[in-house]
Amino acid sequence: MIKKWFKTGDPWIWLNAAAVSASLIIVIGLLLLIAVQGLSHFWPKAVMQAQYMQANATESKAASIRLIGEIHNDEEVSIEQLKAIGINIKTDKETVTRLLIKTGNRDVSGADFKWMLQPYLTEKNYPEDIIVLERREWGNFYGYLKTISNNGKIIASGANAWPELEKRLLRTEALYQEIRDIEKGDIGSINYKMEKLRLAKRRLELDKEDTAENLAKLTTRRKQLDKEYAVLAKNLEDLYSQFNQGSISAETMSGKVIEIPLAKIVRAYQPNALNLFEKIVLYFQKVGEFIFDDPREANTEGGIFPAIFGTVMMVLLMSVLVTPFGVIAAVYLREYAKQGAVTRIIRIAVNNLAGVPSIVYGVFGLGFFIYFLGGNIDQLFYAEALPSPTFGTPGILWSSLTLAILTVPVVIVATEEGLSRIPRAIREGSLALGATKAETLWRTVLPMATPSMMTGMILAIARAAGEVAPLMLVGVVKLAPSLPLDMNAPFFHLERKFMHLGFHIYDVGFQSPNVEAARPLVYATAFLLIGVIVLLNLSAIYIRNRLREQYRAVES
């Protein structure tokens, strides 16, 4: 019977069906994995306190220690493997569960994460007064709040301490914002102007116009800036002295009491005391921080705003460059060029360029745009800054240009497809009514092809947003000191390097010293990137489908 069943070919059909199902599982599984891992990162986890029997405890050492931390992960390990590393566990099962616990307090213990064997964990409970402090350095703190002091004087302790801490943190946060505004905004701008003055002086020297008069002008401007700077520095000093006043003392899981300045605390909460609503509020606060804040601690904590900003700006710049050129090329190929073998070859070539590895474009961009074009631009227009290059080094302009070349085939193909779908009757009608070819193009053909150009542009953006390899050569950095767009004239700084979501994933996931701590953040970044790209693709598909419907109406 089974033999007969095989003869019908049915089993093969089922196996083919299984291939589809497997592909679907992979796609949806990947998206779900990233979504779950990325989104759950911001949810405040309960912090556990437990006693842990040390695996190889001897008589002399304390047999058990107190453990405070979040459970991050678990896995099954076989007894054999444990034996191999010298842990003998008495159990009748073949495997035991091993928990990855985030205990934080890197400044005290040296590591954020610890692997713990489940069977040794006893007396698990969730005390409400455990606090979690997110800090500007050394990662999270877990423990108990003891006292709060101001300039070394204790001002609150015991039950009063927590409300006092919340109050004071609000104030330090406000101060922090103010300090940052001055440092990044005002002082940054003065530094920028100083640098401009230095370059202006060098320029005068190069042009042999460094007369006493000209130099004096520069000196007065510099003096003025120095004066402004002195005022700001004084102001800043006052703010800092206020900022650095408060501190708290808190007890870690080993019972040690440590002093933490309020200035170092970003956020404090008692995870086990939060109710659902408070948790949701905290969740969205953290999401907000992630999207709108600068990164901390070598990009492994804090937000990714500069990366989002860099990606968006680079992609926008690219689409401004790529759309007109792509459209012109497509219009030329479809409407003006003589159709024949040559256009067919060009069409195949353009189509195939989309399949050329992106790293090749990166190499081209580095060699041609940066070293050749940029190097010459520097010689001609930025000689005063040499030998430090201005455009002769990777930057956002070159990245956009490189990606524009990478994505131009996408725009050409999509636009051409749109143009070819426009019924001939429409063109001929327009020409028959006496319109010139240009008028036909501008008034009827192009407007009708707009949606297809949109599709092309969206697909180009979607491709560019996810591309990392070429950017590693032509412009991204792990940490850019300033955004390519700011309040200093000329506002757009096309020569600057920038941060990028995709590169952020690569860099934090693979180059950072503390991968375990950074991993959730990488998932969140990946989720954001995928979200944007899937959304762009879906909108392209939607536009394309609507377009087809429209033409179907015209054709019939």
């Binding site: 070919g9 049915d10 089993p11 059909i13 089922w14 196996l15 069906a17 299984a18 291939a19 589809v20 199902s21 497997a22 592909s23 679907l24 599982i25 992979i26 796609v27 990947l30 994995l33 990233i34 076989s78 012109i328 090329a329 030329y332 409407e335 003006y336 195949i348 070539a349 353009v350 195939n352 360029l353 399949g355 050329v356 590895p357 992106s358 790293i359 090749v360 190499v363 081209f364 580095l366 060699g367 070349i405 001939r424 010139t436 070819k437 008028e439 193009l441 491709r463 996810g466 990392v468 390899a469 590693m472 995709g502 996931g509 693979f510 991993r519 990946a526 990137l529 995928i530 879906l538």
Partner: protein, 759 residues
């Protein structure tokens, strides 16, 4: 297809009024600007190819040289030349003479810049001469009284109003008092050799009464390269090496542990001097063909390889190789013979190139690793005696028998490049045998860069192979089902879902592969492999069970929805094999499969290996292959399948014998395009492998691909260096490779479309 452009001139001609004229002009402008714009966009795309080729091209150029001056030997009366050298800026050259003079002269015209007397003890003269590392300018003189002088020529650059000025000097880092080599004090040193580093120096000398002496100097302070370095004191250990006679030339290697003695009969002794209390002659062997004798015996930069020239013009390279029997001097390669006695060999100071002159006035430039002769020219009528190559190897000077000096410029940018360097096995210095190696980073000038693209090309194909192995069955079978069996309603959901995967940034796939998948696979190895059996088996069991179900249950799920039914089945069987992984590991592999692989199969397990890359990159190419295959199968004309079904074939038979056969060119082009994508993929391999350039088929080892290599090394490559251009070459290879793949695929597809439209 009609040509709409034909209508344009007709329209323009009929416009006559003034307003119409402006419209005609606008029309003209539009068509011109469109043509210019369109053509320039297309040209700029072509530019990519030409720019890559333009950067790569200089690699394949040969060297060129040009004579820039000739003049009589400066201070010819002050003794015969011992040694010639040129300083860094190519402005000043120096001639050390037998009469203990250091004559610094302007390289362009021979004017003497400075004439320094070398400090010798009274009543002695120079009986032998040697250099240590050429780039350091350290030299030593052997004297007629058995002493030696250790000196160094140095150049300071001063920036003065009238321009750069170079001030030569001769200094004595160990002090002016000579070093005692032979305590008897009345035997001249006829041959001498010196090697030094910051901590110590070794001097070996041969006396006129046939004794071989060795003196090891341990410095009390580091020998510095600073301009105003102070004299340093040293401890000296003097010993005699017995039983070595008929010495012709002496050399000491860079670690000061091997002494090479060339004998008068064309043999070389290899002597281990690393332990002064136990000096051993390791080997004595002939290094030149019978009937010839050694005329020049010197080190290649790095002081590892010996270059040997003989009186018939043969040139060969030798270095010691560790064999089972111990260290043996091995013949590495021969260079093109100059056919007349070699008079001097001088190595470049920063590359593994060298130049040689002979007694017929010929000059030639060679490169050792690349095994190339870059230049070969007769430049003099008479015998050439001495040669100096500048530190940057862009100029050289020669001295001939008629006491004429010639000054030449050389343009020799990329001598280390040849076809065999890229694609053949090369015997690199200190390697036990020829190998394919990629190792480009150079910490020092002595480093021999290894530019074999073979391991990278191999890694690229290996990664692509495993990716295709994973992707092809899934994508093609999936496409067959989707196009041919799936219910149309389900197809409208399934196709875009799989296609959206194409838009997934590869950096995310790479990240998941490296940080999520790799650890899972590592800890569930048996489970992953058992999936290959458990999954299909589970599907078949389910299918059979489903068939055996009563009909009224079966018909509740309409035909063409099998894939949806199978999702839970696959999830369950997948989970099952993962859950069974640990027990299987316990049962079959003693609890640790990785250890088992290493012990019983000898396979090394990398956490980020080809299996991980194969799966991750497979996921990246599945949508490409799926989408194109699906299109090809779906557009097989329906009349063909209907005909087949009407003749009584089952759907499966129709599929196998009609549909797939017709669509096979489409499937082929899908595979080609998928392959092209896998070959050029960068981020996934960068993140999911260890990026070590090894050549190993094992699925448990990583690789380094061309694309990943470019991404890793390009930012560090110095512009216009050989390394930089070779990376461009890698990019060009990738470009051509994928472009060809895609073109073939595209042409096949277009033909197929034509065929369908005729059916």
């Amino acid at each position: 297809m009609s040509n709409p452009s034909n209508s344009a001139p007709t329209a323009a001609r009929t416009l006559t009024t003034k307003m119409d004229r402006s419209r005609a002009i606008k029309n003209r402008i539009t068509s011109i600007s469109m043509a210019v714009g369109g053509v320039s966009v297309i040209l700029s795309i072509v530019l990519i190819f030409f720019y890559l080729a333009y950067v790569v091209y200089p690699l394949f150029l040969s060297a060129e040289m040009e004579k820039s001056a000739g003049y009589p030997l400066p201070a010819a009366t002050q003794g015969k030349t011992l040694h010639l050298a040129i300083e860094e800026q190519n402005r000043i050259a120096v001639r050390f003479t037998e009469q203990a003079k250091a004559i610094f002269f302007n390289i362009k015209n021979g004017d003497i810049v400075k004439n320094i007397d070398i400090a010798l003890p009274k009543k002695t003269n120079i009986s032998s001469f040697t250099t240590s590392r050429l780039a350091k300018g350290v030299i030593a003189f052997g004297l007629s009284n058995g002493q030696a002088v250790f000196a160094q020529h140095k150049y300071k650059t001063r920036y003065l109003v009238e321009g750069k000025k170079i001030i030569p000097s001769l200094i004595y880092p160990l002090g002016e008092s000579p070093i005692e080599m032979d305590e008897s004090g009345n035997h001249a040193l006829t041959h001498i050799a010196l090697m030094h580093d910051e901590e110590r120096a070794t001097l070996v000398a041969y006396t006129d009464d046939n004794r071989l002496l060795l003196n090891q100097l341990i410095f009390d302070d580091e020998l510095s390269d600073e301009e105003d370095a102070e004299e340093i004191s040293f401890d000296s250990t003097l010993i005699e090496i017995p039983n070595i006679q008929y010495v012709n030339k002496l050399l000491i290697d860079n670690s000061q542990s091997l002494l090479y003695v060339a004998h008068n009969n064309g043999e070389v002794s290899l002597i281990d001097i690393s332990d002064l209390s136990d000096i051993q002659v390791l080997e004595r062997k002939r290094v030149v063909p019978d009937g010839t004798e050694i005329t020049k015996f010197t080190f290649l930069t790095g002081e590892i390889s010996l270059l040997i020239g003989d009186n018939k013009g043969n040139l060969s390279q030798w270095f010691p190789v560790q064999k089972e029997t111990g260290l043996t001097l091995s013949h590495i390669r021969d260079f093109d013979s100059q056919h007349s006695a070699i008079t001097d060999i001088v190595t470049e100071q920063r590359r593994k190139g060298f130049a040689a002159i002979d007694d017929k006035g010929q000059f030639a430039f060679y490169h050792s690793t690349a095994h190339r002769t870059l230049l070969h020219e007769a430049i003099s009528e008479s015998r050439l005696n001495f040669l100096a190559v500048s530190p940057r190897a862009n100029t050289f000077i020669t001295e001939d028998d008629k006491q004429q000096v010639q000054f030449w410029h050389v343009d020799n940018e990329h001598p280390e490049m040849s076809w065999s360097v890229i694609w053949d096995q090369i015997w690199y210095e200190s390697y036990p045998e020829p190998s394919y190696t990629w190792q480009s980073s150079s910490a020092s000038n002595d480093f021999e860069p290894k530019f074999s693209l073979m391991p990278l090309a191999f890694g690229t194909l290996k990664a692509a192979f495993y990716a295709m192995l994973f992707a092809m069955p899934l994508a093609i079978m999936g496409a067959i089902y989707t196009a041919y069996f799936m219910a149309p309603k389900m197809r409208t959901y399934v196709k875009p879902t799989i296609e959206i995967m194409e838009a997934l940034p590869t950096v995310i796939l790479g990240f998941l592969a490296g940080l999520w998948l790799a650890p899972i696979i590592e800890s569930h190895l048996p489970g992953v492999f058992s999936m290959l059996i458990i999954l299909p088996a589970g599907v078949l069991v389910f299918a059979f069970a489903w068939k055996s179900l009563p009909k009224d249950i079966r018909t509740r799920v309409p035909d063409g929805w099998q894939a949806a039914l199978l999702i839970p089945v696959l999830l369950f069987t997948g989970w099952l094999s993962m859950a069974l992984s640990l027990p299987m590991e316990q049962f079959f592999f003693n609890g640790d499969m990785k250890m088992w692989l290493g012990d019983s199969l000898g396979l090394h397990y990398d956490q980020r290996n080809s299996l991980v890359v194969g799966i991750a990159m497979g996921v990246a190419v599945i949508p490409t292959i799926f989408s194109i295959t699906e299109d090809a199968i779906f557009s097989v004309p329906k009349n063909l399948t209907f005909g087949s079904l009407a003749l009584g074939a089952t759907p499966w038979q129709t599929l196998i014998y009609v549909v797939i056969l017709t669509a096979s060119p489409g499937i082929f082009s899908a595979v080609m395009i998928g392959m092209g994508r896998a070959v050029g993929e960068t981020m996934i391999v960068l993140m999911a492998t260890g990026n070590t350039p090894v050549m190993d088929f094992s699925v448990f080892q990583g690789m380094r691909t061309l694309a990943a290599n470019v991404a890793v090394e390009m930012p560090e490559a110095e512009v216009a260096s050989t390394h930089y251009r070779i990376l461009f070459l890698a990019a060009l290879v990738l470009f051509i490779f994928t472009f060809m793949f895609n073109t073939v695929a595209e042409i096949v597809r277009q033909r197929l479309r034509k065929k369908y439209s005729s059916l």
